[in-house]
Amino acid sequence: MGLQFMKLVIVGCGRVGAMAAIALSKAGHQVTVIDSNRRAFDRLGDNFAGEMVLGNGIDEDVLRQAGIESADGFASLTNGDNRNIMAAQIAREIFKVPRVITRIYDPMREDVYRELGLNTLCPTLTGARQIHAMLKG
């Protein structure tokens, strides 16, 4: 990811989204988190130095408000695969964000969208593989 500080937009302030936002912000990056539920921002704690935008992460206007037009990186980490897929495609195709990552739980859909060029992360697959490896010992 290089040493330079980046402007990052994260959609979804669940456990993973919040943890990533806190870590990236602590590392000095400028982080904006989007979530449609205000209470989700509680996960960021009181010391979070980034910004929070309340709204729908697949809404162009909300994404603009979060500064997507000048973002260096984008991650969609809501609990909805399709929402993540759509948000990531908007970031990539409409706003031309250079680095876009999306989480997709469904391995088959992950396969399709990885083939189509999205940077995907499938915790179902990695989790299952890890469990398999650990049980094998």
Binding site: I58, E60, G80, D81, N82, I85, M86, E93, D106, L116
Partner: protein
């Protein structure tokens, strides 16, 4: 002609009904089993219960031989993914999506959906052209 309609709400129901009346082969996909039961009892046995964006399920609907896939759920992200899977995985020649947020019409087209239709946008255009007509009519009346 084989049409697959995804989403058994009011739009999906009436669309399927009229397509059947016009002699098309129709499959209606609905997530909610209870809703599907109601639809099946009024439309005949054309409803399949499942997720319109679940690849494994879509493969059982005969999507690869569909001429048109129409996604009309109330969620834009679901309609987008259904159309993209239909197009890219099942080579469906024509995909049509209902769009709830008018701003998504442009986005859907950029992302490969053939036809994206927003009722809100259609109504907005109608209202605006209606108002424009009135203004013109009003102006010519003053001039006369």
């Amino acid at each position: 002609m084989y049409v697959i309609v995804v989403g058994g709400g009011k739009v999906g129901y009436y669309l399927s009904k009229h397509l059947l009346d016009r002699g098309y082969e129709v499959t209606l996909i609905e997530k909610d089993p209870r809703r599907a039961e109601v639809l099946n009892s009024t439309l005949g046995e054309i409803v399949m219960v499942g997720d319109g964006d679940e690849m494994a399920f879509l493969a059982t609907t005969g999507m690869e031989r569909a001429d048109v896939v129409v996604a009309v759920t109330g969620d834009d992200e679901d309609n987008l993914v259904t159309c993209q899977l239909a197009k890219r995985k099942f080579n469906v020649p024509k995909t049509v999506a209902r769009v709830n947020n008018p701003a998504n019409v442009r986005i859907f087209k950029t992302l490969g959906v053939d036809v994206a239709l927003s009722a809100t946008e259609v109504l907005l255009d109608l209202i605006e052209s209606e108002l424009a007509n009135k203004e013109t009519a009003g102006r010519s009346a003053t001039q006369a």
